[in-house]
Subunit: 349 residues, 2 copies
DNA sequence: CTGAAAGCGCTTACAG
DNA sequence: CTGAAAGCGCTTACAG
C-alpha cells in the first residue's frame, strides 16, 4: 500500500511510476479535461498500484477549501436533534462535504460561541447550529459571524437563515383536532420556556383555542422528560374538568399517560391525550398516541442546501469579508397530524 | 477581524504587527518555551487585534497530524448508538481531537469499507466504528487497515481493539432475576441474528437457564422495533404457560407490553416482562420496566482512550507502515440490572 | 495535451 | 531568546 521506503505515497511517486509529471496526476485526480485517455489510464493504474490517497491538508491549503462543515447540536439522545443530525449528515455527504460535530452539554450563550470557535479552528467552511433554545439563537446573532451559518429551529433572527418545522401549525392542528372531537377546551403541557419549539407549540395551541372561542387555561411547564410529564400528569388527574390534554412532546406524553393510568383514568374514554414528535415508540404506547410528525430528513436536506448556497455565493464573490445583510431566509417544513387511539370524542368523566 | 486588504490574516501579518518574525509567532502559538514574556505579550496582543486563527490545513500539512478522528455509526436515532456517539464526541474533544462522522444507512461490508475510505480521504488519524453487526466487524478484519481503528460492540476480532458492554453478563443477571422470582423458565424475544449484541444477550440468557437447569425455549426474533415486539407479543399472549419474558431491548419490550395488555394479560401479576437498555422512557412504561442499564459514556471514553493510545504509539515509533499484531485488546464495560415494577414473583395465570 | 515554476501558510531544525 | 531557510504536498496559471 505504501511506497518502498515506508512512508505513504505522494503525488510525485505516482507521477514517477506513470512516467508523467505530478501536474498530470493532479489533472487526472481532479477530472480536468485535456488528458490523453491512455495517459489517464497509466496514471489511474499507478494510483491503484500504490494505493495512493491525495493529501487533503495540502489540497485544502492551496484551494482554501476544507470541504468540512461543522454541526453544533444539543443532546443527541433526544429524538428530534438525533434525527436532524442524521439528516444533515446524509445531505452533507451527498453535497460532497465532511461533517464535524460538537455536542453541547449546557446551552449557554458562551458554550455555543465556544463550539463555533472550536469548529473555526478546524477551518470548517460553514456551520449548522441545531439550537432550539432562545439563548443559542441570541448567541448567533450577537456577534457578526465570520463564516456561513444556518440555524435549525432557530426562531426569527435578523440576517440568519433558519430552517424549522412548522411548530405553530402542528400545534394548531392537534388542538383543532381535539376541539373537533367536542372538547370544551384543551389543556397544554408545555416544554421549557427557553425552547423556541416549546413556545411555537404554545402559540399554535393558543391560536386554535382563541379561534374557537374556547377558554385558555394556563399551560403547565415540563422539561421534555417523561418524569416531568408524569409529575404534571398527577396534577392533571386531580382536576375532573379536564378532558383533553395536548402535551408538547411524546416523552412527556408518556409520563402523562402513566400518571392518568395510575389514577384510574381511562384514556381516551375519560381524557384524550396527544403528543408531538411521533417517536417510533408512540404507536405502541398504551393507548397508541395521537401526535405530530416532523420531517427531520427534510430539515437536514434544506439546512444543508441553505448553507451550501451561502458558501457557493461567497466563493463566487471571492469575499472573505463580512456578509452583506441578506434577506431573511426562513424555510419552514410542514408538520403532520397523526391520529391514533389516545384521542376520542368527549364523554362525561 | 481581517487584515486591511480583505483576506483573513496570516501568521506574517501578526508577526509584522508585533515586530517579530513569523517563527516567533509560531512559538507563542505552540506554547514553546524560550520566548521572552514581553515578546509573547506583544504577539498575543497582535493575534487578538487581528482576530488571527492559525490555518489548520497548513499546520496539518507540515505536522502530518490532522487532529481529526472518524466515527462510523449506524442509525443514530437508536438510543444505544446515539448515546455512544455522544460519549465518544465528548471524550474526543477532551483529548484534543475533532470528530468527523459518517452515518451508515445499510450495514453491508461494502458500506463500512466505503465509509472508512471516505474518512481516509479526510486524513483522519484513526477511526471508531460503532458497528454492532457481524457484517460490519468482518469488514474491519478482512482488510488490513492502514490506520488505527477501534470497534465498539464489535465482538471478538483478531488484532482489533474492541470496547463493548457486557451483554452476556447483563442478560444473565436479568434472567437470574426472573428465575429467582420463581419462574419455571424465561422466554426470550431476541434481536436480529446479525447483531452481536443480540447474540450476547441470547447467550447470557441461555447460560442462566442452563445453570438453573430450566427448560430452554426457542428465542423469538424481532428487529429491535416496537412493532416487532408487538407482533411477537401477540403470539406470546396465546401461550398460557409463559410467565416471564426477557426482551432484548426496551423498544421491543414496549411492544410486548402493549400486545399483552391488549390481550387482557396483567403485568406483572400474570406475566413478568424485562427489557434491556434502560432508555429514559423505560421508567414510565406501564408498568415501569425492569431492564439493564449500560454506561455509554464510559464506552465512549474507553474507546477514545484505546484509539488515542494506538495513535500515540504509532507516532512515537514513527511508522506509517502496517501495525504489528497487537494483543487482543478487549475492554468490557459492566452492565447493571435495574429492577422496576414489570417483574414480580410467579403467580398462577 | 503536458511540464517547469511559484506559492498556499505553516513548523522544524539550524544558526547565531 | 530570536530569525533566515527549507520544505510539507498539493493546485494553478503560464508556457510550449
Amino acid at each position: 500500500m505504501s511506497s518502498e521506503n515506508g512512508r505513504s505515497p505522494v503525488m510525485a511517486d505516482v507521477a514517477r511510476l506513470a512516467g508523467v509529471s505530478h501536474q498530470t496526476v493532479s489533472r487526472v485526480l481532479n477530472g480536468h479535461p485535456n488528458v490523453r485517455p491512455e495517459t489517464q489510464a497509466r496514471v489511474q493504474a499507478a494510483i491503484e498500484q500504490l494505493g495512493y490517497h491525495r493529501n487533503s491538508s495540502a489540497r485544502a491549503l492551496v484551494t482554501r477549501r476544507t470541504n468540512v462543515l461543522g454541526v453544533v447540536t444539543f443532546d443527541t439522545t433526544l429524538y428530534g436533534p438525533a434525527s436532524t443530525l442524521s439528516g444533515i449528515e446524509r445531505a452533507a455527504r451527498e453535497a460532497g462535504y465532511f461533517v464535524s460535530i460538537v455536542t453541547l452539554t449546557d446551552i449557554s450563550r458562551a458554550s455555543v460561541r465556544e463550539a463555533l470557535d472550536y469548529l473555526a479552528e478546524q477551518s470548517v467552511e460553514g456551520c449548522i447550529v441545531i439550537a432550539p433554545q432562545r439563548a443559542a439563537v441570541e448567541s448567533l446573532t450577537d456577534v457578526s459571524v465570520a463564516r456561513p451559518l444556518v440555524a435549525v429551529e432557530g426562531g426569527r433572527a435578523p440576517g440568519l437563515p433558519v430552517v424549522c418545522v412548522d411548530q405553530v401549525g402542528g400545534a394548531r392542528a392537534v388542538t383543532e383536532h381535539l376541539l373537533g372531537l367536542g372538547h370544551r377546551t384543551v389543556h397544554h403541557v408545555a416544554g421549557p420556556m427557553e425552547w423556541l419549539e416549546a413556545e411555537g407549540r404554545v402559540q399554535g395551541w393558543r391560536e386554535a383555542l382563541e379561534a374557537a372561542g374556547a377558554p385558555i387555561p394556563e399551560p403547565l411547564r415540563g422539561d421534555w422528560s417523561p418524569r416531568s410529564g408524569y409529575e404534571i400528569g398527577l396534577r392533571l388527574a386531580e382536576d375532573p374538568r379536564i378532558t383533553a390534554v395536548f402535551v408538547a412532546n411524546d416523552q412527556m406524553a408518556l409520563g402523562v399517560l402513566r400518571a392518568l393510568g395510575e389514577a384510574g383514568i381511562r384514556i381516551p374514554e375519560e381524557v384524550s391525550v396527544a403528543g408531538f414528535d411521533d417517536v417510533p415508540e408512540a404507536e405502541f404506547f398504551t393507548p397508541p398516541l395521537t401526535t405530530v410528525w416532523q420531517n427531520f430528513s427534510d430539515v437536514g436536506r434544506r439546512s444543508i442546501r441553505l448553507l451550501v448556497d451561502q458558501i457557493d455565493r461567497r466563493a463566487r464573490k471571492g469575499s472573505a469579508g463580512a456578509t452583506e445583510t441578506e434577506e431573511d431566509l426562513r424555510d419552514v417544513v410542514p408538520a403532520r397530524l397523526v391520529v391514533r387511539a389516545s384521542t376520542a370524542p368527549v364523554q362525561l368523566r
